[in-house]
Symmetry: C2
């Protein structure tokens, strides 16, 4: 590894609506940023043109003694990491079977890495964030779904076709909610929309709650954030909803603990912003679902890099090996 102070990489966090880019230095901090909308571009070539334009801007004030060592991209979909090949991006039309790493290296003459977005975030958190101290850690991101990244023996473990870490599909009920990925997958219970649905259901049953009032009386304005604020102020329905979310997550985390015995779970994503109303019952339920030998040896931590985990992690992919 060359001098961390004298090198940097471009990280690209490729989201369904926005692409975030950053110049990240070897200590994992961001020296420059850029953003553009994913939507109005013409396919892969239009996307590459836009990325190139921003790379030039991001590097325009690069100190003469600093080397840029590569470009890393985290994408929302299935990827072959070894080949830097994008199989399919569910929510971005025109992205099927794209040899993205090769295309980037052709454009920039630099090494390129492509991984799925959650793996990139996990690499960021485990290299420069909450997971730095651990040899074995499981990164979770709680949002629309539940994403996972597995740090085993200090390396991201991807499975036999780069498809592992799909922790949101781990079943917590063999007779539970059906989806395209099986039955009872934990994200069917704790995804953004499910949390809101559950709160509205309890309210509809006639229980008193401040949740609707906080949403200006509009059902469609109820969000996990509003529910967590209500829970923080003692709203019984909101507290119950987060207790249930925590117990569902704890069921999955207990299974993962028995299987992999990570030293820590690092939890990020929008829903994790709920803070203690989520993390306190999570610890309680995980302890109840694990034997003492396992419970006392596993830490639950909040992720530290927030919205920057994606760009920092994507850049970090190029620092590895």
């Amino acid at each position: 590894m060359s001098d961390n102070n004298k090198r940097c990489a471009i990280g690209v966090d490729f989201g369904g609506t926005f692409v975030k880019m950053a110049r990240v230095n070897g200590r994992g901090t961001i020296d420059a940023r850029a953003n553009f909308a994913t939507t109005d571009l013409k396919g892969v070539d239009g996307w590459l043109d836009e990325v190139e334009r921003h790379v030039e801007a991001l590097l325009s004030d690069l100190p003469a003694d600093t080397e840029w060592t590569g470009i890393g991209v985290g994408v929302p979909g299935f990827v072959n990491y070894e080949k830097g090949f994008v199989h399919d991006l569910t929510n971005v039309p025109g992205w099927r079977s794209v040899p993205l790493a090769d295309l980037l290296t052709e454009r920039f003459g630099k090494p390129a890495r492509v991984d799925n977005d959650v793996n990139a975030m996990a690499v960021g958190e485990c290299t420069f964030g909450a997971g730095q101290a651990y040899r074995h850690a499981v990164f979770l991101t709680l949002g629309t779904g539940v994403g996972g990244g597995l740090l085993l023996n200090k390396n991201l473990y991807r499975g036999s076709h780069s498809m592992g870490g799909e922790i949101g599909h781990v079943s917590i009920d063999m007779n539970g909610i059906e989806s395209a990925t099986g039955r009872g997958g934990v994200e069917q219970y704790v995804g953004n929309k499910r949390i809101v649905e559950r709160a509205l259901q309890v309210i509809d049953s006639g229980r008193a709650s401040t949740i609707l009032e906080r949403a200006g009386g509009k059902r469609e304005a109820v969000s996990p954030k509003i529910i967590s604020e209500a829970a923080a102020e003692g709203d019984a329905v909101a507290v119950e909803v987060f207790d249930f979310v925590a117990d569902c997550l704890a069921t999955m985390m207990a299974s993962v603990s028995y299987l992999l015995q990570p030293q820590a779970f690092i939890i990020g994503g929008g829903v994790s912003a709920a803070g203690p109303v989520l993390f306190d019952p999570l610890r309680k339920h995980l302890d109840a679902r694990l034997s003492h030998h396992f419970a006392k040896r596993v830490v639950i931590k909040r992720a530290e890099l927030g919205n920057d985990a994606g760009v920092i992690g994507s850049a970090t992919l190029t620092f590895l090996e």
Copy 2:
């Protein structure tokens, strides 16, 4: 690695009632065997004396040009593999906090390895049995409980305190059967006794079945083996019981697939002897519980080393690294 034809190791499969020993050569085959009862020995020292006596016998006809390279032990309990230290053997009195690898090296002047029995079997199957072709494989043993061994990147993965791979505690129902290790652990549904209980329950409800007749009319003589024989001949109750066992296992295996994406599950242990009445519904249910992308990429195989997996695997531990 020295010439595989010119070396061997002693493998010790330490069971609750019997200790099986073997001289295993570098190609993974057994050249000599020994057994003794676990029960009538005086603690750790008595056990070591007996092992020493048998090691001498096993090596008595060792060809002059063959080197013996070490001794490996698989034990029924918690172990620190790195240190070769036995924390506790649940069913063997007097075995708490035993530095077994050190004691063995002291006696024999050779490197010693100690691992839990299921890990040793997994190493055996993945080095010389059904798992040889794979980089990532999950070994399962079905018996009183459900044991697991994880081969990730061609190495056995043990987790942060050598306690990982406890696949029998993976939950298939967050509100399911309670035990000391949580709720809904898969072994609470598919362990030996549970299979028998379930069959008897269905029979008690009045359904016609040949199971009791096959057991000579004695409830206490009903076993997974008898139920599997009934299933193989089309007994509807027995078929249903194995279909349920298969679906419980498939729920756990789907979760493990989404998490680790192994290339294969290698299944051994007494219950696996049921054959097609277990493996056919297992494949069907696993396919139903996985997305096509995962289902088509995972193999289910029967273990190949049978009752020798333990001794072969224990010896193999000393061949590694």
